[in-house]
Symmetry: C2
DNA sequence: CCCGGCGATATGCCGGCGATATACCGGTCG
DNA sequence: CGACCGGTATATCGCCGGCATATCGCCGGG
């Protein structure tokens, strides 16, 4: 153990050493994506590349790459020589996204139930513990929901499925932010989460899948109701 | 009509002006993707950016963008300052990909059965007609299979599902190319196609989904068998 | 035999150039 | 007088090639 070099010393040219290394493209992608999801960049708005460039204090290339990535994820739409716009939202897209999510999340829940390891079980029990405390506000609830779904994606042990679901989840997340002010009923959602996680812990794939499908479908119903009343 | 400038003169620096306009990025993406799928760039091999640059006679940016896109689709893996490699294939990935495809393609088939329009029906009948002729060689069969699946994606009337399935189909396509020399049994596949399309034409969602699931599962079994015997 | 420095290579990022599509605006015709 | 039309101005994009940097492989020295 002669070459004891602490990684923190040699890396970190600047300040941020969050978890792992972030290329500027990745950083730009995450930050712009967050702005879109949280509606800081509202649907339909023009994404001003030059403005982002000075706000994020980086060059054009990383931003270009981030926008392209977002375009492939259907979060922005790039019109040649017109500009890049945040994708608009509508009931139809909500339905289309949910259509896929119901099937995919359901299958992920089933796989998670069938495959989850001891480590997964520990993480899931922790999630259940946090759930029993209850969420103070809606944003806290969103974080919980996000953590639960991500855990299930991981437990499904399928990296393809995981990354696909991650993208669809983000699309849904934006819709949730859209109706954040409306107090959508979410007590049920919490209970569904508990039932869902318990089904996974019990290794009951059928029940996990069914519960997840109900959960996602119910989510759509709530969002849709809040959307149409706007 | 004073400014009569023929478009062919100013555009078309090279030769290919296929259908529609291709940006160089798109062109690079399609060509590199094709090379990967057809194993012209074999799994695990290093993707030499400079070589591609001179072979495609374009700059670095389009190639970079194409490679990033391929990386997000898990067709290449980019290791910082090491190089970009074509993603390796293994039985596990085949299983993981199929796992998602079974569910997604099945659902797409169901949706297609429920939603297909008159225009779709015409296209599907044409596909059935081509099928009755029969495929001469295996590559012809691949093209048929591809056309059928794409038609179903379109008929499902869900652009999100369509683009997701497109990506998974390409991942599977490469696996097919991998075992192309092995004469996998495919008579069944053709019959399945016929049954599948007929179920869709009949508007029988349940049967369409079930047939598609069988089809995709059977596909995996054949590929797997050919893969392990290598 | 092991270690440390050096060259080679590929990447991430940058800023600029030419091209292009839109918007605006003044002139002209109905 | 109003509407249309052609030309110009502008903003944005696609693409380019270069620079700085990080990593690996090699080779000579200890």
């Amino acid at each position: 153990m002669a070459s004891e070099v602490r990684v923190q010393d040699r890396a970190a040219p600047l300040a941020v050493v969050r978890r792992g290394v972030h290329s500027q493209s990745e950083e730009a992608y995450l930050r712009i994506r967050d702005r879109i999801l949280t509606l800081d960049l509202p649907p339909g708005s023009l994404v001003h590349e030059a403005r982002l460039r000075e706000e994020l204090a980086i060059g054009r290339t990383p931003i270009r790459e981030a926008l392209q990535r977002l375009a492939h994820e259907k979060l922005v739409r790039s019109v040649p020589h017109r500009g890049t716009f945040v994708t608009d939202v509508n009931i139809t897209d909500l339905a289309r996204i949910t259509e896929v999510r119901v099937v995919l999340e359901g299958h992920a829940a089933r796989l998670a139930a069938e495959r989850c390891t001891a480590a997964d079980r520990v993480a899931i029990r922790e999630l259940l513990a946090s759930l029993s405390i209850g969420a103070s506000d809606q944003r806290e609830l969103m974080r919980m929901d996000q953590a639960i779904h991500r855990q299930i994606y991981r437990s499904a042990r399928n990296s393809f499925l995981e990354s696909t679901l991650e993208r669809y989840f983000n699309l849904s997340l934006r819709l949730w932010y859209l109706v954040l002010d409306r107090q959508v009923r979410l007590r049920e959602a919490v209970e569904e989460h508990v039932a869902l996680l318990n089904a996974i812990l019990a290794g009951d794939g059928d029940r996990a899948e069914q519960t997840m499908r109900t959960h996602v479908t119910g989510f759509e119903r709530e969002i849709r109701a809040a959307l149409v009343e706007r």
